[in-house]
Symmetry: C2
Subunit: 330 residues, 2 copies
């Protein structure tokens, strides 16, 4: 016999009674202001059955960019740092790489030369560092790296350089029935390794740039998937809504980004009916993090994007003014 | 203040006390036998924390093929029937199609000729019936068709031709913390239209063959995704584990199929550590459904697959012997 309705109801009432006393601020790292208010208001109206903006639980999908939106992306994406580091690991096993460009440049450690690497160079680097191994082996490689790597400026693990205010938004949304997804230009298999532990986002809720895998058998006859250098999804710009459709199959009702690469994801989110929340993190805090914008190499935030945000009622989050605290370790 | 731990515990105990009385058979459409026992035993050991085969909730992923595993696939996949029907709809708007092969053959209604269409023919048919429209428009087209279409033999909507025993397995798994996924050779966007209503499987848990979409704007400037004839994922055979990795990013612990196209999915599922359940539906009931096997055009089940099932301890479900009832309407 399943639990009777009256018992479920009793428990619901008991629990609701306690939760009604909840007066603790769910966003303690946010200063009061339009950004914080927009989030609280959105959660309130979309979860209130009596409100015309109510969103049924199954449609509560929130999409988050990662680099620059939920963790530090300057001076270089963590995954690029990883790739450059892995060139050294690969070259130890295959010394011939040391004489071949762009690997020779990477191994030289010459920062100015490395900064000038082109996109085709980067593709070659990604091919040798991100493909050729099983998906399980790749996971292990990333785990080993991320446990040891430190950010050059903060001298802390990348996994500590997550924005506490955004963690609070994710938790608040999840506590209200939202499923939080990453929709990142970063590698899907890379982000999946730590997203659950660091952000509470499970592997199946990570949409990212993805190379193909190839099914086969290892020497013992066991079925394995090997990562191969064939791009399936470049999850940036137009690729973000396309990736959302491929993996999620629903339009998000909330989307969070920080750069021109998130524009189409925000447009796609906004194009749905009913309540919508589109937010952009603006890096304007040179003291506590970094200040960058229109012409930055990563996280580019052109004036046209700011103008579009104003025109389309996207909420711009000022890290300087809206965030009381940026990192948990502060 | 959130509900205190003691109150949550009290409620959990109260509810557990009632559920402990549950003696109702969760699989009433199954005859007693090794197949039913394998399912019940799997659920029991993987959800018992004291059992060495316990599977933590986040890893409880079960993958189901659709055609022939959870609904009727003979004499023709529902989606192929849909595609042939749509050729007529498209030809009404674009009469030039009537003079071009393979559309002329489809429109002739000549069953023998239609049965001889080749794979390149089918690709042309899929291109005009499955691409060129927005994803929202395609959803509407499928909804309209599936609400009216009837199976030629059963004279019932396809959505009634689902296997009641498999619905019971899905429900049992979900009640025990499993997330049920479709991993189907069928079109992802096609299956997503009805999977939630018919099977309780939401869009984000449908892995299927997928064509690309293209981001753009409609005449009013609204962001839209248009389906384009570029195959991203052929989710059959080796494509099943590859699709699982792309969309789910975790290895399933249970997998259900019915044909040679499911072989690699079952192998990939089995290659993980700990408890595993691999099952194959065998169509051996010519009276109540269809009996087919080694040389069938759809749902091919070669002798080698049967031999592999025996060798690797995959459980073969005999529709004739294991299923007390096949359809809910019986």
């Amino acid at each position: 016999m399943k639990s009777p309705a009256w018992l479920l109801l009793l428990c619901a009432l008991l629990l609701a009674g306690f939760d009604a006393h909840a007066q603790i601020d769910p966003l303690p790292s946010w200063n009061d202001g339009p950004a914080k208010q927009a989030i609280l208001e959105f959660v309130k109206v979309t979860t209130d059955q009596a409100n015309p903006k109510f969103v049924p639980p199954e449609a509560r999908i929130a999409a988050f960019d990662q680099d620059g939106t939920t963790w530090v992306e300057q001076p270089m994406y963590a995954q690029v740092v990883f790739a450059l580091h892995q060139v050294g690991m690969v070259a130890e096993k295959d010394p011939r790489l040391k004489d071949v460009e762009p690997f020779r440049t990477v191994l030289s450690g010459d920062r100015a030369a490395i900064a000038k690497l082109t996109m085709p160079d980067l593709e070659k680097i990604l091919a040798v560092t991100h493909t050729g191994m099983t998906v399980d082996a790749f996971k292990q490689i990333v785990q080993d790296w991320i446990a040891r790597a430190k950010h050059p400026h903060f001298q802390r693990p990348y996994t500590e350089l997550v924005y506490q205010p955004m963690l609070e938004v994710m938790k608040l949304l999840r506590a209200n029935g939202y499923r939080t997804y990453f929709v990142t230009g970063g590698g899907q298999d890379f982000v999946r390794v730590y997203a659950e532990q660091v952000y509470g986002i499970p592997p199946e809720q990570v949409v990212g740039s993805a190379s193909a895998t190839q099914f086969g058998y290892d020497k013992s006859g066991k079925a394995v998937l090997t990562k191969v250098p064939k791009l399936l999804l470049m999850d940036d710009n137009v690729g973000k809504p396309e990736g959302i459709h491929l993996v999620i199959g629903r339009r998000p009702v909330a989307a969070f980004g920080n750069s021109i690469g998130d524009k189409q994801m925000l447009e796609y989110t906004q194009a749905g009916d009913g309540a919508r929340l589109m937010m952009l993190v603006h890096h304007d805090d040179a003291t506590r993090e970094f200040a960058y914008g229109p012409t930055s190499r990563v996280g580019t935030f052109p004036d046209a994007l700011m103008a579009q945000a104003k025109k389309q009622s996207w909420v711009v989050i000022s890290m300087k003014n809206d965030w009381k605290r940026i990192f948990a370790f502060e």
